[in-house]
């Protein structure tokens, strides 16, 4: 029997993976099609892998129309073909990454709990079950892990605050409202290795004495919902979730809740409101969610990737994780190459590689073949960076010193046809559409900003930016000025009327 892997991943499916899977399954051979997750080499999707004696051989991007010629060339024996990329593990794009959080993505069948266990799964949980709450948190502190959603707050400190807050009920909320354009790493993790997120959430529950977890998932990710719910069902059936986790006296349960298309619900307090079934209005802080969170109870709110990094930290120890990275940015981060890029996809690297290296070595330049004009890092609230600054190392502090944000690791590339005035105006327009409306600088400032840019009144725009920056309630209004100001600073010609 020949094993053929074809990803069940939103990107691969959007390029025809389901039809490719059907066509390959109907070849007159003894074929077992496995729908694995994606490796994150999105530019090669649909990436078909055939298991051979030499390992898994990759072909991509494969269309249904390529299958007759692949079959004729003998791809089921790993034969050469113009789409052959060689052994998957040897593809440069993948080989040169440091895969900690995403180690299993692409490798395994996402819904096979046996695959998960065979590849190191639940080792972290097994160890955590033997540790005290304090010791689990110590390990997370040692690892240096900081929130991967964008705010980069130390995860261990957050957990400790919740642990030290007395309450009859505490919650773990996973923020899976990955709304930043140019980001898809949470989606890939959830579609390709859902048990990893589940394990991370269980460990978080053990660490702070929370018994209930919610995953707040954006509605734009329907496949994640299916995969997560399937995985949760399996984990329950096998006693990893429920009232006696792995036959211990600990309990933990997870429920998936679906958002409804609001960007600002990715802000943690708006997310809590939304989880409570209300309008996603931002809450003033304090009180911190760690003290008064979901339904008024102490709550850990972590991004998908923060939680998915926990299993390996607990399995291998905080020191192991801390050995990756530079300065105060420890471990790895999933970068996502997006927009006008030749080789788009997910690249998990230790902090410290320069932006230019990431774009050239991995991205391979623009998709259009034209020169790069600007790169927006960190989502819609991130700065536009010109090629002169591509020597910037990808770490939290270096970016913040340069007035930019690393955020959730999204890197959107624009070629020379981009009009930066349009992009600056869009930043305001997007803020106007998505503002929750609670604070005036964001609600009104966004609309006035868009008008001022249109009119070419740059001085007033600058002033407005400063006001929004200093007096908005949350990052939506507070950071919208970042893309606007960076565009005005680096491409003044685009703003001349």
């Amino acid at each position: 029997m020949i094993k053929v892997y074809i990803p069940r991943d939103t990107a691969a499916i959007s390029m025809g993976a389901d039809d490719v899977a059907k066509a390959i399954a109907s070849l007159p051979e003894d074929i077992h099609v496995i729908r694995n997750g994606t490796w994150g080499m999105t530019y090669l999707e649909p990436l078909v892998e055939v298991e051979t004696q030499k390992g898994r051989i990759a072909y991509g991007p494969v269309q249904v129309s390529d299958i007759p010629s692949l079959y004729k060339a003998g791809f089921l024996d790993g034969a050469d073909h113009e789409l052959c990329q060689g052994p998957t593990a040897e593809i440069d794009y993948l080989k040169n990454q440091e895969r900690l959080t995403f180690a299993r993505c692409g490798l395994v069948d996402p819904l096979s709990i046996d695959d998960y266990i065979k590849n190191g799964g639940f080792q972290g949980l097994k160890r955590a079950l033997k540790l005290s709450e304090k010791n689990i948190i110590d390990d997370v502190m040692t690892s240096g892990l900081r929130g991967r959603g964008g705010a980069a707050f130390p995860t261990g400190i957050k957990w400790n605050t919740v642990l030290e807050t007395e309450a009859d009920q505490k919650y773990i909320c996973c923020n899976a409202d990955e709304g930043d354009s140019g980001t898809f790493s949470d989606r890939i993790l959830m579609e390709s290795d859902p048990f990893c997120l589940i394990e991370g959430m269980i460990i978080a529950g053990l660490a702070v004495k929370a018994t209930k977890g919610y995953i707040y998932l954006r509605s734009e990710y329907p496949l994640c919902k299916v995969v997560l719910n399937d995985a949760i069902r399996t984990a329950k059936a096998q006693n990893y979730l429920g009232s006696s986790i792995c036959d211990s006296d600990k309990e933990f349960d997870i429920e998936v809740r679906i958002g409804a298309g609001s960007y600002v619900c990715g802000e943690e307090t708006a997310m809590l409101e939304s989880l409570e079934g209300k309008r996603g209005m931002v809450r003033a802080k304090p009180p911190l969610p760690a003290h008064v969170g979901l339904f008024g109870k102490p709550t850990v709110i972590n991004n998908v990737l923060s939680l998915a990094s926990i299993p390996i930290i607990l399995a291998k120890g905080g020191e192991y994780y801390k050995d990756f990275g530079i300065g105060r940015s420890r471990g790895t981060i999933a970068f996502q190459l997006a927009g006008n890029v030749k080789r788009g996809g997910l690249v998990e690297k230790a902090f410290g590689i320069t932006l230019g290296d990431m774009i050239d070595r991995y991205g391979g330049g623009t998709y259009s073949g034209k020169n790069i004009k600007a790169v927006q890092v960190g989502g819609p609230l991130g700065a536009y960076i010109p090629p002169e600054n591509f020597d910037l190392p990808l770490d939290y502090e270096a970016f913040s010193e340069a007035g930019a944000v690393l955020g959730h690791g999204g890197i959107v590339i624009f070629d020379e046809t981009a009009d930066m005035k349009e992009q600056a105006k869009f930043a305001f327009d997007f803020c106007a559409i998505e503002s929750c409306g609670k604070c005036t600088p964001c609600r009104i400032g966004s609309t006035r900003g868009s008008e001022q840019i249109e009119k070419g009144n740059l001085e007033l725009t600058e002033e407005l930016c400063d006001l929004m920056d200093t007096s908005s309630l949350c990052a939506m209004g507070g950071m919208t000025p970042i893309p606007v100001k960076s565009a005005m600073k680096h491409w003044p010609k685009d703003f001349e009327n």
Partner: protein, 151 residues
Amino acid sequence: MVDLNKAQEIVDHYSQVEGGLLECLHGLQQAFGYVPKETIDIMADGFNISRAEVHGVISYYHDFRLKPYGRTVVRICQAEACQAMGSRALSAHVAKKMGIDVGKSNEEYTLEAVYCFGNCALSPNLEINGKLHARVDQDNFDELIKKEGAV
């Protein structure tokens, strides 16, 4: 006519779920294709909140609608990664082809803006009747819509 018994069943179920109003709205929308106005009273009763609060939640979120979609629904990404790959021109083309503006709906067609499908390495993206398509350009949109939506 809206089957109010069915609506009542859905509300009864989700009002038992902690913070279940959003899930309830998703449930109603799945059953009816939209949130019928007649169900607002039922929700207000079921969740023990005012009708204004129910309406506030419905109107806050882009996903909820008080009217049915058109027969063919196109949702097109308007965010940065797709902009970098020409989504502005594509949107204009799609709007012209369908004969309605982005954000508008009629019996035949609905054309909605979406801010990111999370498929940004393969931009530009759009969805036709629930199916996501990547690397869409003007030519293959015309073919896709013929196949999937019959413009």
